[in-house]
């Protein structure tokens, strides 16, 4: 009988699964990775969304260009965060690869969180593209000293959207048509998180819901920075965004762990 050859330490195994495993699974499961899908979906559609709302705002005489540029340029990260993470986790079910994965002794936290890193980078790319085209086409000019703060707000918001997407992806391990849930979540965030409509204009109950969603605090911070409010004044919003994203990511992992356990009880793995 021959033997196993296991990697030297649990720590190196964790990071290999996190980085290498995360990247491979992203290439395997992210539908829009080919340029034919990536360019129209991740760049084309967001560009037209920004242009649409900026020109709508200008025509209707509501909001400033910066209001819509910042709101929409940050919001478009949620496309990668929500749909990308839903694909990265829930597609294991449709590919019927969940059973072989769960039959391995791999570290589940690394397996789960590692999928978020490429998605986070995709989300950042999308935001960067949104701000660049806004600078080129819509005369968006944030002050230079506020750029690092704006970049931090974008990073934190992209991460929190990824955390939220992880939760939706985990639900997809059990719910058959999780992309319906993702669609609803995506457009609900467009409505509730202050992207197009100031949160203060929403009914109080919806304002409360908005506080628990990613984007809300990140967009508020981004707008304040673009208006020259200074980094320090946006720290509470950035921290809140981080907290919301972290809470969703933690909930996502707990859901994943719960579904793995309950899947062993119910036999639900790979049931299409």
């Amino acid at each position: 009988m021959s033997g196993l050859a296991l990697a030297g330490s649990n720590r190196s195994h964790f990071w290999r699964v996190f980085f290498i495993g995360g990247l491979i699974s992203y290439r395997a499961l992210f539908y829009w990775i080919s340029p034919w899908q990536y360019i129209p979906t991740m760049l084309g559609a967001p560009l037209f969304q920004i242009l649409f709302f900026v020109y709508l705002g200008r025509a209707a005489g509501v909001g400033s260009t910066n209001f819509f540029v910042v709101g929409n340029s940050i919001q478009i990260c949620s496309m990668a965060g929500i749909y990308g993470m839903t694909m990265a986790i829930a597609n294991e079910r449709s590919f019927q690869t969940l059973s072989p994965i769960l039959a391995t002794p791999s570290n589940r936290l690394a397996l789960f969180l590692g999928r978020g890193l490429p998605v986070l980078i995709t989300a950042l790319q999308t935001c960067l593209f949104g701000f660049l085209v806004s600078a080129l086409l819509l005369d968006f000019r944030p002050s230079l000293p506020d750029l690092p703060g704006l970049a931090l707000a974008v990073l934190v918001t992209s991460a929190s959207c990824t955390g939220f997407g992880m939760a939706l992806g985990s639900i997809g391990l059990r719910v058959r048509d999780v992309f319906l849930v993702s669609n609803i979540a995506y457009f609900l965030m467009l409505l509730l998180c202050g992207v197009e409509v100031p949160i203060g204009r929403l009914p109080l109950a919806l304002q409360a819901v908005a506080q628990l969603l990613p984007l809300t605090h990140g967009i508020a911070a981004g707008r304040a920075l673009a208006a020259g409010a200074g980094f320090l004044s946006t720290v509470p919003d950035i921290l809140l965004e981080l907290l919301v994203g972290g809470a969703w990511a933690a909930a996502a992992y707990l859901l994943f762990a719960y579904f793995e356990r309950s899947g062993r009880r119910s036999g639900a793995f790979d049931r299409l």
């Binding site: 491979i24 290439r27 072989p100 062993r264």
Partner: protein, 357 residues
């Protein structure tokens, strides 16, 4: 249940394996050595809960496995045969730690599949049939690379090991191609390669040749045979009797969630030696005629296969001389192409066991 003692007969595995050589990993680490048995299953029960109806939802319980016992010695190639829904896959999924038993104890190399699941996973390889379960957009190499990481293969060994398993399954040279362009047989071989990556001492094959063309299926069988020769413990489920007959040291027949017979292939065949098989190739046998044949005294079982227009009626009888005449009487008016008698095969024994269960 018929239980035949183990170890009385030599295995009759396929021998034409000149093109396949299994290479184990060069490094060794600790294996659980507590148990002489590779697999121990005692009183395994598994119940599924399901619901029906939309407005008035009704809960149903389906008992997939009803208290089975299995013991597989280290290095044994054990076949689990049974019709669809008999409980084969459920049993394998419990052994692979993917399902929890409703009752009973299940151990792999002495490790409990419930409380020591992670340790069990290091010791097993799980290979299932069908063309799903792979990442279509990745190359064969990347599919294996991903699982090599999940199995925590030593980075310095990883590339070489992937090369080895690709060679073993005959996919060398195709590793850079995307799996979406692979035939079913190639996909099945990739499944096998994935199951062998970490060189597990215990392998579970769940219908590994299903849907694979005859040449591909033969290669898979050769590989399984080679793995058994390399000392692996293998549990194989299959619908194909000749496959089990040619490969397995021991076989258990499972029907409706219970083991109905266990023994070596020839011992199981002997269980049907008290009968003769009458095969009738004909056209236009009605269901009523089949029922009439079934009700004849001395008829053990009746099965009918349909191929194009022709029907093949397979009747197991205790006394062929006496019953052939009666059979022909009942087939009057039916166009009979051929009638022949023969000794029972493992498949006949299987049909007899499953029909009687």
């Amino acid at each position: 249940m018929t239980v035949v003692p183990a170890g009385t007969e030599a295995p009759s595995r396929v021998t034409d394996r000149t093109s396949i050589r299994y290479t184990p990993l060069p490094l060794s680490s600790s294996h659980p050595a507590a148990s002489a048995l590779a697999v121990e299953v005692h009183g395994l029960r598994r119940t599924y809960r399901t619901t029906t109806g939309t407005l008035r939802r009704r809960r149903l319980e389906v008992e997939a496995v009803r208290g089975i016992d299995l013991q597989i010695a280290r290095g044994q190639l054990f076949g689990l045969l049974g019709p669809n829904g008999a409980g084969k896959t459920t049993t394998i999924r419990v052994l692979c730690t993917l399902l929890l038993p409703t009752a009973g104890t299940v151990r792999v190399l002495g490790l409990d599949v419930v409380s020591e699941a992670k340790s069990v996973r290091r010791q097993i390889g799980y290979v299932f049939g069908g063309d799903r379960g792979l990442y279509d957009r990745l190359s064969a190499y990347d599919n294996l690379r991903y699982f090599a990481e999940l199995y925590a293969l030593e980075p310095s060994l990883l590339r070489r090991r992937i090369g080895q398993v690709l060679e073993v399954v005959g996919l060398t040279g195709r590793e850079k191609e995307r799996v979406e362009g692979f035939s079913r047989g190639m996909r099945q071989r990739l499944h096998l390669a994935r199951g062998l990556l970490h060189d597990p001492p215990v392998l579970f094959f769940d219908e590994p040749t299903i849907g694979v063309d005859p040449v591909g299926a033969r290669e898979v069988r050769q590989l399984i045979s080679e793995l058994a020769r390399a000392g692996k413990t293998i549990l194989l489920t299959t619908h194909y009797m000749f496959e089990a007959d040619s490969l397995c040291d021991r076989i258990a027949v499972i029907s409706k969630g219970a083991i109905v017979a266990e023994g070596s292939p020839s011992q199981l065949k002997a269980a049907a030696s008290d009968r003769t098989v009458v095969e009738v190739k004909a056209y236009g046998i009605s269901d009523a005629v089949v029922e009439s044949i079934r009700s004849l005294a001395g008829v053990q079982s009746v099965a009918m296969e349909v191929s194009d227009q022709a029907q093949l009626l397979v009747v197991q009888v205790s006394d062929a001389d006496q019953l052939t005449g009666r059979l022909m009487q009942l087939l009057e008016g039916v166009r009979v192409d051929r009638i022949a008698t023969r000794e029972p095969t493992l498949e006949d024994a299987y049909v007899a066991l499953v029909t009687a269960a």
